[in-house]
Subunit: 319 residues, 2 copies
């Protein structure tokens, strides 16, 4: 059945995407404890903090303190986010394992509302990043296409628009002498359905058959795991996800809306289909309970309540 | 792409499956108000109450009162559940639109724990139902196969076991001179993944190519909508679902675990893929908020928080 990958690679976004929207305050020590517990589950990539304006995002004001306190586990990559050069400079002074990132908005209106810049200005900004990454010796890993499936301002996004945005990003990278092998398709405001996933992936593959794809899927309307499944069916093997479903979309403008797909639900679905994740689901469920107790309110993950199937299988094996 | 149906038919289970596990008490008038609001959304089939032992399920002690109070909307079918002959007799005295149901457990251990009867006894019980349904002039609509994808006691259920259970049910029906055209595959305790869905549907179709299938999917571990999508991809066009995700599995033994897939999330996914549901999503979202306020605690539906896309589309159209 289809092109299901043998293994998927998960980029854990919980600490970064999650803590930034929590009303908080969350103690830095709790953030570190959560990040260190995640690293014990088998997750190999953890997005830890955002180097953003502490006045605008008070929940990330302790980014440096958190980054400094993490006892790094060998083999695990600890990343961080920045939205401008000042943030990148801050990130460079930490022990985090930085990789260069580019971002292009499929929707110009979303880009403008989110960054204050128009398409040409955002492109110029990306050019500056490429120069800076080279200067700093940072490998540029991927281009993220934001609002790749829909936008609250522009509506459904045509696959051709995504292709155009990728082409633009690749051209900017190429101008700077940088080659990029991976594209991150982001359903930033939760518009995607499996059908839209298939259409966009199809359009991208038609133009760049060997481009490695990563999905960043917001579960705003419940279709997140169905969308991830469709992407897997089409051979995609890299996914962003958030432990316990921690986080939400700060741009969506509706309180309580879900953020990224839930990591342990994704791990459950993949492993039960024979797709390796390298993650110990039961340990990850413990992390989900830990972070729920840290933030102090119920989170939206399902497997953390339903439980894994381990105990049932063990009871059966013991018979 | 695949065999996606043009239209799906949704059986709303919220009032029946949902209210029976709420710690309550829920006023009968609130139940009626919710059922009547659901009937205004375009949903054509609503499972309203259970005629079960009020000492065991106090939340359904008012089944007759609720059934009597509903102002029925023409074209909508209002159903109820019974688990024994006494329940059926009670149901027959109401204004509900009853259809005969059969139930066979793919897992014998689950059947035993759930009903106190072994496989042969459950089969005998089904024979008695067939006789009774004929006597009462009730059409027998479908056979439900419980635990069709996995069981907490017996583990993963092999597709051959599901096929065998269906064959058993059809034989019992045939003995009584009843022909059945539809099978309801129930993931009673939330073990299914899209892969398991495809395997079981494939095995059933191989034996009975024209059998109409219905899915009853519990979202215990977050895969519910992905499973529904896979079933749609394979042409299945009948789904049970529960408004706001109301309900939970009383058998699962873990507090807070989800019940049926959420109706409005299913409607969102289907309609956004061009599959008609006949349901007005925005009115259904209002029902979800209504029932959340009736039960007095947050429910797990996602679209009820994320919102439909109507307002964005309208804003765009007005530009």
């Amino acid at each position: 059945m289809s092109d299901l990958p043998k293994r998927i690679h998960i980029n854990e976004e919980g600490p970064r995407e999650g803590f930034q929207i929590e009303p908080g305050p969350i103690a830095s020590a709790d953030k570190v404890r959560f990040i260190e517990a995640l690293a014990e589950t088998g997750l190999k990539k953890i997005d830890c903090v955002s180097f953003v304006n502490p006045r605008r995002v008070p929940g990330q004001a302790d980014a440096e303190a958190v980054a400094a306190a993490i006892r790094k586990r060998p083999g695990v990559t600890y990343t961080g986010l920045w939205l401008n050069m000042a943030g990148l400079e801050r990130a460079m002074k930490t022990q985090l394992d930085l990789v260069g990132r580019m971002g292009i908005n499929a929707s110009d209106t979303f880009g403008k509302k989110n960054t204050g810049m128009d398409r040409a200005q955002i492109a110029d900004e990306q050019r500056k990043y490429i120069v800076k990454y080279k200067e700093l010796g940072l490998r540029v890993e991927s281009i993220t296409i934001l609002t790749a499936f829909g936008c609250n301002f522009e509506g459904a996004i045509q696959p051709a628009r995504v292709v155009q945005s990728i082409a633009e990003g690749l051209a900017i990278a190429a101008e700077g002498g940088v080659s990029i092998g991976s594209v991150n398709l982001a359903d930033t405001v939760g518009w995607a359905t499996p059908q839209a996933i298939a259409r966009v992936i199809g359009a991208v593959r038609e133009r760049w058959p060997d481009m490695r794809l990563r999905m960043h899927l917001h579960d705003t309307r419940g279709t997140g795991l169905a969308n991830a499944y469709e992407a897997m069916r089409l051979g995609v093997d890299m996914f962003d996800a958030s432990c316990a479903g921690l986080g939400g979309c700060p741009f969506a403008g509706h309180k309580g809306a879900s953020g990224n797909i839930c990591t342990e639900d994704l791990v459950f679905m993949a492993e039960e289909m024979g797709i390796e994740t390298g993650v110990d689901l039961d340990r990850l469920i413990e992390c989900a309970h830990m972070v729920e107790s840290i933030v102090g309110h119920p989170l939206t993950g399902k497997v953390m309540r339903g439980g894994s199937l381990t105990k049932y299988r063990q009871a059966q094996a013991a018979q």
